[in-house]
């Protein structure tokens, strides 16, 4: 997958004059199962510290695009909530608040396990790290199951967006708009949770193959940042949809 030329260039140039004094990864005592190409910093970075900084900065910048991705929907939510206050409040009471509260707690716990997983890999406790990743994965799965249940009950009652709206007791003008926004925003968030679970699965597989070590765990840190961000989005969606007074 990586073209041949850069690695022999590395040898021809010798170690580049690394500005930061950090000990070069090549001579740290990582175990033999580490893939040599993965451990050495890529050619365009002077040393591993810069590469790790670049990896986490890339994820942070990506997270800002994700924030802007939800920005359009939040703006739509705010305008229509301002236009139809009574309908939004009635619909919010219609949703199941207990289930949502449990979902919030569940995602927070899953976030904790992800943080612990990264914490343990830095202590080189690989088995504990895999355990925490699995628990984070289960947290995401529980969230999706509960959320699927909520969508099912809403669909049965006919509380669906726009044209498909059938529910009788809620005000007919604002309610389809609430449910349109509800399904879009929480649906988009659920997709992000599903993608996050896929990434955690990839991490578990790589961890079991011994790819990561205290010196090189950038992908884990990236997925961790993404997972915490998904949890942070839900922290805002929870009061916006379920706790309208």
């Amino acid at each position: 997958m990586r073209p041949k030329s850069p690695s022999n260039n590395r040898r021809r140039f010798g170690a580049a004059p690394s500005s930061a004094g950090a000990a070069g990864p090549a001579d740290s005592d990582c175990s033999t199962r580490i893939d040599p190409a993965e451990a050495l910093p890529q050619i365009q970075f002077q040393d591993a510290v810069r590469q790790r900084h670049a990896a986490s900065l890339a994820v942070w910048v990506f997270l800002s695009t994700e924030v802007m991705f939800f920005a359009g929907l939040i703006a739509a939510y705010v305008v229509y909530r301002y236009d139809y206050p009574a309908a939004f409040s009635a619909c919010s009471h219609h949703l199941e608040r207990w289930v949502a509260t449990f979902e919030t707690a569940d995602l927070l716990t899953s976030s904790l396990f992800m943080a612990l997983a990264i914490h343990f890999i830095q202590k080189n406790a690989r088995r504990l790290s895999v355990l925490c990743l699995a628990l984070a994965f289960l947290g995401g799965a529980a969230f999706l199951v509960l959320h699927g249940h909520e969508y099912a009950t809403d669909a049965m009652e006919g509380a669906l967006p726009g044209r498909f709206y059938r529910l009788a007791e809620l005000p007919a003008v604002g309610a389809p708009m609430f449910f349109a926004l509800y399904f879009f925003i929480t649906g988009l968030h659920a997709i992000h949770v599903a993608v996050g679970m896929g990434l955690i699965g990839y991490l578990v597989v790589q961890l079991l193959r011994g790819r990561y070590s205290p010196a090189y765990f950038n992908p884990m840190e990236g997925v961790g940042l993404y997972w915490h961000f998904v949890d942070m989005v839900w922290v805002f969606l929870y009061p916006l949809f379920y706790l309208i007074h």
Binding site: R2, P3, S5, P6, N9, F13, A16, P17, S19, Q42, I43, Q44, F45, Q46, R50, Q51, H53, A54, L57, A58, V61, F62, S64, T65, E66, M68, F69, F70, A71, G72, L73, A75, A76, V79, Y80, D83, Y84, P161, G162, R163, F164, V173, G174, P176, M177, A180, L181, F183, F184
Partner: protein
């Protein structure tokens, strides 16, 4: 005369020329799976040139149709599809990706003294996503017959009898390619700078690309979500923008223009970066005020986010919002004015070398003056009531966005042609091409200002006979513009095959990118350079090294 490379003690490059990035590896596989930022730049150059020619053909067909008030060569339906094709192709397929992806990719690592961009695999992925996006968009538009204009205003786009979803999906995909490029460049500028290259020594082109990347990553997602909402609206009838179901079409315009106004700065800021880089080299003196240009780049990037509402002055928006957007528009206009003053000032006490690149740069400044000031006139809310959605606005945004981006793209292509291909082009023919293109552009769009004053609405297939002679003048101008572009195209293609070998630094420019060989070796620098001087100071050559070269 090649100034010694950056580290003065380094001996001049060995006589046996090292294989350049073009000749190091050959075969399609080495191009399609390359991680080399220079090859990816050339892939983008090919794609972007194709879309420029495509957009130009659509424009010529539009101008031909407008020769007579009624049916000239096509029906109303075809005309509507064509101006949508022209709009989408030029905006998303040429102008937004053109300078950042081609010259940003090629030059950023060279100007930062790095071996490659920070995320090379993401760089290649962004090209593939871009090509897939182009295919989906063009096929969707041509097969589906989208006729909503590049702004997709609801409720016409959601209830239009013609297929809209594939085009929205295509633009959605291209949006991701833009985000990937933006993320890549920001991380590159932050983490792979050579030793000694602190922030205030960055070349102005790098600052331009940095400002553009910030807008790209913060604005494009809002377009993505808006187009997704329109898809769901037209497919499921969910009512977000449907007035009969309680939705609000003006909200669509808010979300769309929240992206599209910063998008016009995504299109023109790289051009400003190119001119800010080219002018010091051709006037043989440092820029007039380095810090002023850097701060105005960030001024445009951030204040650009505040001014989207001036596209909606007459769309039923509240007067309070109109006043706010008017003030924000004036705020943005002032940064462009600062840049223009600095460019003109750059020639003061310089030694101006006159060739095609200078012609393009001066043409860029002249169009920018006209476009900018008509933009300010449009920004005064009172005049916009008359000019909005007429040909005055069409002329304005071509003068401030289309023309300058095109001229800056050609200026960059000519200035860095020796660096990219190692060949030189014929000075005479490139100058003729530049002059014809500039005059053709000016002749095409000045009549449209007058059409706007007469009150002819834009996007109209048929018009009243009294507008006809101005349309004929504009179409003549368009043919001159097309001729100019063809001359430039042939000059460059001719130079590609028959041009003689270019010296290392044909313009004797001071940029860091001229320190390595042209065309550069696969990994740019033999030894990672250490920057010891500013981007616009000539390298201090110790006496003995000067005598040796």
């Amino acid at each position: 005369m090649n100034p010694a490379s950056l580290a003065p003690e380094h001996p001049p490059s060995a006589p046996a020329r090292a294989p350049s990035y073009l000749t190091a590896e050959t075969g399609p596989k080495s191009w399609l799976f390359t991680h080399d930022h220079k090859r990816i730049a050339l892939l983008y150059l090919g794609t972007v040139s194709f879309t420029l020619i495509l957009g130009g053909v659509f424009a010529l067909l539009l101008r031909l149709e407008l020769l007579t008030p009624e049916n000239t060569i096509m029906q109303a339906q075809t005309y509507d599809r064509l101006f949508t094709l022209h709009g989408v192709t030029m905006v998303w397929l040429f102008m937004i990706p053109s300078i950042p992806t081609v010259f940003g990719n090629f030059l950023l690592p060279l100007m930062l003294g790095a071996h490659d961009v920070a995320l090379p695999r993401l760089n290649l992925l962004s090209w593939y996503v871009f090509v897939v996006g182009i295919a989906v968009t063009l096929i969707g538009m041509i097969a589906g017959g989208t006729d909503t204009g590049w702004t997709f205003y609801t409720p016409y786009s959601t209830t239009s009898p013609h297929e809209v979803i594939p085009v929205l999906a295509g633009v959605f995909i291209i949006g991701f390619s833009t985000i990937m490029t933006g993320v890549n460049f920001i991380v590159t500028i932050h983490t792979v700078r050579a030793q000694g290259l602190h922030w205030m020594r960055l070349p102005l082109f790098v600052w331009g690309i940095y400002g553009v990347s910030i807008i790209q990553i913060l604005a494009t997602p809002v377009l993505g979500i808006t187009l997704a909402l329109v898809c769901l609206e037209s497919f499921l009838g969910t009512g977000i923008f449907d007035p009969l179901k309680g939705g609000d079409p003006v909200l669509f315009q808010h979300l769309f223009w929240f992206y599209s106004h910063p998008a016009v700065y995504i299109m023109v800021l790289p051009g400003m970066g190119v001119v800010s880089e080219v002018l010091p080299a051709l006037c043989r003196r440092p820029p007039f005020n380095y810090k002023a240009i850097v701060y105005s780049t960030f001024g445009i990037a951030f204040v650009g986010f505040l001014a989207w509402g001036h596209h909606m002055f007459v769309a039923g928006q509240s007067t309070a919002a109109n006043v706010m957007f008017g003030v924000a528009t004036m705020g943005v206009a002032i940064f462009t004015a600062i840049k223009i003053f600095n460019w003109v000032g750059n020639m003061y006490q310089g030694q101006v070398v006159f060739n095609a690149v200078t012609a393009y740069a001066l043409g860029f400044i002249f169009l920018m003056i006209f476009g900018g000031l008509t933009g300010v006139a449009l920004g005064t809310v009172g005049l916009d009531a008359h000019w909005h959605d007429t040909y005055f606005v069409v002329a304005h945004f071509h003068f401030i966005m289309a023309g300058p981006t095109l001229l800056a793209f050609l200026a960059a292509l000519h200035f860095w042609f020796p660096k990219m291909f190692g060949k030189t082009f014929s000075a005479r023919w490139s100058l003729i091409g530049a002059a014809t293109t500039f005059f053709g552009f000016f002749a095409t769009f000045t009549p449209q200002f007058l059409l706007g004053n007469m009150g002819m609405p834009r996007r109209s297939y048929a018009y009243l006979p009294r507008f006809q002679w101005l349309h004929v003048a504009s179409t003549m101008g368009a043919s001159i513009l097309a001729a100019g572009l063809l001359i430039t195209l042939f000059t460059l293609i001719h130079a590609l095959f028959f041009g003689e070998r270019a010296p290392e630094n044909p313009w004797d420019a001071t940029g860091y990118e001229w320190a390595c060989a042209s065309p550069p070796p696969p990994h740019n620098f033999e030894v990672t350079p250490v920057i010891t001087r500013g981007p616009y100071e000539w390298p201090v050559i110790p006496e003995e090294a000067r005598r040796a070269t």
